[in-house]
Amino acid sequence: MAKNRKNQAAEIRFGPVLKVVLLCSLICSAAIGYVWQKSQIERLGHQILDREKRLQSLKNDNKGLADQIAFLHSPVMLDTQARKLNLGLAPAQPFQVVRMVDLPFTPEPDGPRQYAERPMAGGTP
């Protein structure tokens, strides 16, 4: 009996030890992975929330600026400013308006002119 115990103690069996170590590592890594994943989900959730808030805030700012432009463009505002600044602005009278009359198209008698033509004679420019 004692002999057998002595013999067993002296013998190192790596197989089972390796199995146990592997099993423990597997369980540990699964647990750590699970926790890591959960914390990632939590972190990403916070990021999503923060960015949603930021997006909303930017949208609101954008809207505010658009409204400000609308206010500055409004005829009432422009009229008030023009009067306040006393710039002498007034609607253009008909005699102050130059009207461009579209003439009917007439083709060039010598064919189309090449406006970007480079001089071919006379050497280098």
Partner: protein, 629 residues
């Protein structure tokens, strides 16, 4: 200790364990099976939250995309008096300056109060209220300041360290004592500009679990007429929260975005609207009428470029709204006076019953008919049809109706011009007007109606009748909404011009225009309405007001409706004054100059080419000057 005793002890232990496990098992079955529904519902109530997302109300834009009405996000600042407990005075002192409110008033509102609620058994119970609204329409930056102030809140304990309970109390006050709910505020960048067309909003509140959910609802004008398109569709998010009420994004179940309301693009041009409102205000100041209205339309399409009525209101200030500030262009009916002569004369021309050169005896200003005597404002003898329009002869118009047109035809033309029926403009409160059927006419009706009495019209109906003459006899449907579009500019629906019917032939309309051209001349009734660079066609109207079944001396409705350039009309303008008090009362005298002012400025703004027939076109001169340079 022998084996038997050991066995008994083990058995006892086993029995105890068995009882304990049985107890646990029963508890498990009780929770998981017997009370499953109740407990799972309670668990869901503790963690699941439904957040409603209100859609942004659509904007109202003018034809050029300028914003006339928009919605901005604001906050409703609320408090939980239960959390604030004995610190209400301190908190009130802290936030009152930011909300620009009296600290005592805030402290009063923060006093603990009871609210009625129904428990799960359907019994009414009293609870301490956790919800008090402190201020509405608080801008976002102000809320940020309040939030920052509350985050720095410190519980006064005389310099010693806070106990754990006190620290928790301080934390609750800081982060849950004062909170904000998202809300929306309707703003009008143009102030009172086109306010009667746009309308005004009110806020409708729904109480959901003690919290008030507000919604903007239109009360008049486009805000009301296009409520469905402007309001959009609610969104919601079904999700779970942690103990501190922070959302757990990973556990979101349903997330449906709100669908924002559509932008309504009007045919109104805010620049022309401003021109009209400014000119009307000057006219109002000069003649002190009860009210004054102005409309500008494109006769070819029926697009309304401006519609104004003074007195007006600012939709941002509900206190400025009263029955006097209604949109009289569509809500009020009036006897049109001489502007109605266009109906009888154009009808007679259309039927070939008269020609412009045909002459009628205007009886030197007095014409007895059916027991009544008709008068002209001057004694005229023989007048051609054209001169009847030029001089606005009542007797001449009556004779055309009596001798050439007949009552049924007069009624038919008036009906075909759209009188006695709504124009179907998409604005609330439009009046139908009064046009009695021929069987209800008195003997004198056929003489009265041609001069604009015995019939009641809206200002819009009268303008569109004139616009029909300008548009080769085609009556158009009034257009006030050009299109519906999403916020990114994507067009959802476009509204086009719609012809109603051809009331008179093109030839008749041309003859009518020839006659109307003579009105804004030295010989006509509205010389002040003439423009230097454009030929104007138009008609004046001065109708005595009827009150309590009788005409009231000294009270008139004065009007001028005209269009230009007469031979190629771009715009048609109506100016109507109700009871002008200073500076005369004839339509040509009081409304003509206002028309002139509006027309000249609109022509400049719209860059309408001057009328070549007038020979006052300065373009060649200007071009010559440039060439000489």
């Amino acid at each position: 200790m022998n084996n038997k005793e050991q066995f008994h002890r083990a058995l006892l232990l086993l029995g105890c364990l068995a009882v304990a496990f049985a107890g646990l098992g029963y508890r498990l079955v009780d929770w998981q099976v017997l009370r499953h529904d109740e407990l799972s519902a309670r668990a869901e109530r503790n963690t699941q939250r439904e957040f409603r997302e209100a859609p942004r109300r659509g904007d109202i834009l003018d034809i050029n995309g300028n914003i006339l009405a928009t919605t901005i996000p604001v906050k409703t600042v609320c408090a939980d008096p239960v959390i604030l407990s004995n610190q209400t005075a301190v908190v009130a002192q802290l936030i009152a300056p930011l909300l620009q409110l009296n600290p005592a008033a805030i402290a009063q509102r923060l006093l603990p109060r009871l609210s009625l609620a129904t428990n799960s058994n359907g019994q009414i119970v009293t609870n301490q209220s956790h919800y008090v609204r402190l201020a509405r329409n608080v801008p976002e930056p102000t809320w940020q300041q309040i939030n920052a102030a509350m985050t720095n809140f410190t519980l006064e304990v005389g310099g010693r360290k806070l106990t754990r309970k006190e620290a928790e109390f301080q934390y609750d006050i800081r982060y849950h004592g004062i909170y904000a709910e998202s809300d929306q505020l309707r703003v009008y960048p143009g102030g009172a500009l086109a306010s009667q067309v746009i309308g005004f909003p009110s806020v409708e509140e729904t109480n959901i679990n003690g919290h008030f959910i507000s919604k903007i609802v239109g009360c008049d004008g486009i805000e009301m007429a296009m409520q469905k398109q402007l309001s959009g569709v609610d969104g919601w998010r079904l999700t779970e929260t942690d103990k501190a009420q922070n959302e757990l994004v990973a556990l979101r179940d349903e997330d449906v975005f709100a669908r924002d309301g559509l932008n309504v693009v009007l045919t109104i041009d805010s620049q022309i609207q401003h021109i009209v409102e400014t000119a009307l205000a000057e006219g109002f100041q000069q003649h002190s009428p009860k009210s004054i209205t102005g409309i500008v339309v494109r006769p070819r399409t029926g697009e309304i470029l401006a519609m104004a009525s003074l007195p007006t209101f600012d939709p941002s200030q509900p206190g400025s709204i009263s029955p006097e500030t209604r949109n009289r262009v569509i809500t009020d009916v009036m006897e049109p006076g001489s502007t109605f002569k266009i109906v009888v004369v154009s009808g007679a021309l259309d039927r070939g019953a008269v020609k412009l050169a045909d002459e009628f005896d205007c009886e030197h200003g007095h014409f007895a008919f059916a027991g009544r005597t008709l008068h002209d404002h001057e004694a005229y003898g023989l007048l051609s049809v054209k001169s009847i329009i030029t001089k606005s002869s009542n007797i001449g118009a009556a004779k055309i109706a009596i001798e050439r047109l007949g009552d049924q035809q007069l009624y038919n033309y008036a009906w075909n011009y759209g009188f006695g029926q709504r124009t179907l403009i998409p604005l609330p409160g439009e009046a139908r007007g009064i046009l009695y059927p021929v069987k209800d006419w008195s003997k004198v009706s056929i003489a009265q109606i041609p001069m604009g009495h015995g019939v009641a019209v809206t200002r819009l109906q009268m303008l569109f009748a004139m616009a029909a003459i300008a548009n080769h006899g085609w009556l158009m449907q009034p257009m006030i909404v050009s299109r519906l579009q999403e916020h990114d500019g994507n067009i959802v629906q476009r509204y086009g011009p719609q012809r109603v019917r051809q009331v008179i032939s093109e030839a008749a309309s041309q003859q009518m225009v020839e006659a109307l051209k003579t009105v804004p001349t030295k010989d006509g009734t509205a010389p002040d309405a003439a423009l230097k660079e454009y030929l104007v066609a138009g008609k004046t109207g001065t109708a005595q007001k009827a009150e309590h079944g009788a005409y009231v001396p000294g009270k008139y409705i004065s009007s001028f409706i005209g269009f230009f350039p007469a031979d190629n009309p771009e715009i048609c303008i109506s100016v109507v004054m109700d009871e002008p008090r200073d500076g005369g009362y004839y339509g040509g005298k009081v409304c003509g100059p206002v028309f002139h002012d509006i027309a000249a400025r609109c022509a400049s703004y719209l860059n309408i080419p001057p009328d070549p027939s007038l020979n006052t076109n300065a373009v060649p001169l200007m071009a010559d000057t440039l060439l000489r340079k």
